[in-house]
């Protein structure tokens, strides 16, 4: 995963989660409090915009941390 793409994605993800970018480390937990459907829409939009790929929503909503989300994206990018 290119660092510039990751940085762009994290910036958009921070907006979707309504948190400061500095707070969005890999271990940031996605919980029922912050990982609602609006945040998930934001993540889908960010992945589409930055990486140009579709993400299976059933896998996306199961992510429980930013690390898991990044791993999902990395896998999807590698699969093309």
């Amino acid at each position: 995963m290119q660092e510039t793409e990751k940085a762009a994605f994290l910036e958009k993800l921070a907006g979707a989660l309504d948190v400061e970018l500095d707070a969005l480390h890999d271990g940031f937990q996605l919980t029922s409090e912050n990982w609602d459907s609006v945040a998930q829409l934001g993540a889908i939009a960010a992945i589409d915009e930055v990486y140009g790929i579709d993400v299976p929503t059933n896998e996306l909503i199961e992510c429980t941390s930013v690390r898991a989300l990044l791993q999902l994206v990395q896998r999807l990018v590698a699969e093309g």
């Binding site: 029922s32 998930q40 829409l41 889908i44 915009e49």
Partner: protein, 337 residues
């Protein structure tokens, strides 16, 4: 040659209103400002308890007739698009024929589509007019999704409003098409993602009552269910493909389209689609702030507003794209007169 042409649009929103302040009070965890920021909707029009789709349809059609474009007795065919009909049977279009005073030799049918319904209606109207079957077609779209929505379901209650639009399609002498080309799409595998599961004959009763989902939205099987992330994903895939398919059929580039009116789902989705398709902001309509997502009526309401505000001029080419429940989608070129 006779070419089907949209010559008038009138719309009607019921008097009831649901504001973001009311939603914030009732639902608690979202502020009015956050709802507006995320949805682009400030207030939704909500039908009264005794107000059905036919009532909204009559009001919209009467406004169209009052505009002097034609009289009820001039209509040869009524197409009525709704997913919230008054009855299982008869067709609501038959009730509308009587209430609007249309001739008894006027054709009248319902068709069941949601967000793609207006574009489908234009295609049906064009076929009727250009085949010589009807000279004047009245296309009415009307829905009251609010009646399906559980008051404790923020995922749908923040988005949808009720409304109707009446569109007159007539045959005029013209050199080139005023409606079309069209493209259509269907993927019924997405049906479970936007559905009212109970109340039809497959599942007549809403057993189990109201239950909460993981996000704390309550609904029963008789209520509208929307899987927002799935619908969003579908739209990001289907709409750009439909737009590009239509451009190929039209045989012109995106730059030749004067204005774009997509189904007014919500601002977030529209902005992402606009960015993805690289459509300039000044040629793209986002305007559901005053009424919410009115399902099959968003496009005609937007077209009426865009013309009224001078954003769309006579003689220009407008691309209209409907997409959503079904999944169903359709896109068309409309020459504004």
């Amino acid at each position: 040659m006779i070419k089907a042409t949209v010559t008038a649009i009138a719309s009607y929103l019921p008097a009831g209103r649901l504001s973001n302040a009311q939603l914030a009070d009732e639902l608690g965890d979202w502020s009015a400002e956050r709802i507006l920021e995320k949805t682009g909707i400030a207030t939704r029009a909500i039908a009264g308890a005794d107000e059905c789709a036919s009532d909204l349809a009559v009001a919209a059609a009467q406004r169209l007739f009052a505009g002097g474009h034609c009289a009820p007795e001039d209509i040869d065919f009524l197409l009525f698009c709704t997913q919230s009909p008054d009855y299982f049977l008869p067709a609501t279009a038959c009730l509308l024929q009587a209430r609007l005073g249309l001739r008894t030799d006027c054709g009248a049918i319902d068709f069941n589509q949601g967000c793609s319904g207006f574009v489908y209606g234009l295609a049906l109207a064009k076929s009727l007019v250009e085949s010589g079957t009807a000279a004047r077609v009245l296309l009415i779209t009307a829905d009251t999704y609010s009646k399906f929505i559980n008051p404790r379901d923020r995922s749908t209650r923040t988005i949808f409003g009720d409304g109707a639009a009446a569109t007159l399609v007539v045959g005029v002498e013209a050199e080139s098409d005023r409606l079309g080309p069209f493209v259509f799409g269907t993927d019924g595998s997405g049906a479970p993602n936007l559905i009212v599961p109970a109340g039809g004959l497959r599942r007549p009763h809403a057993e189990g009552g109201e239950t909460p989902d993981d996000a704390g939205n309550w609904r029963s099987p008789a209520n509208l269910y929307m899987n927002g992330p799935e619908i969003f994903s579908f739209s990001l895939k289907a709409v750009p493909l439909a737009v590009n398919s239509l451009l190929r059929r039209w045989n012109r580039p995106l730059e030749a389209v004067d204005f774009f009116i997509f189904h007014q789902a919500n601002r977030f989705m529209l902005e992402r689609l606009r960015n993805k398709l690289k459509i300039p902001e000044e040629r793209f309509w986002i305007g559901m702030e005053h009424c919410g997502n009115t399902v099959s009526s968003t496009i005609p309401i937007a077209l009426q507003d865009a013309v009224g505000q001078g954003r769309v001029q006579p003689g220009t080419s407008v691309m209209v794209v409907g997409f959503g429940v079904g999944y169903s989608w359709a896109a068309a070129m409309v020459q504004v007169v």
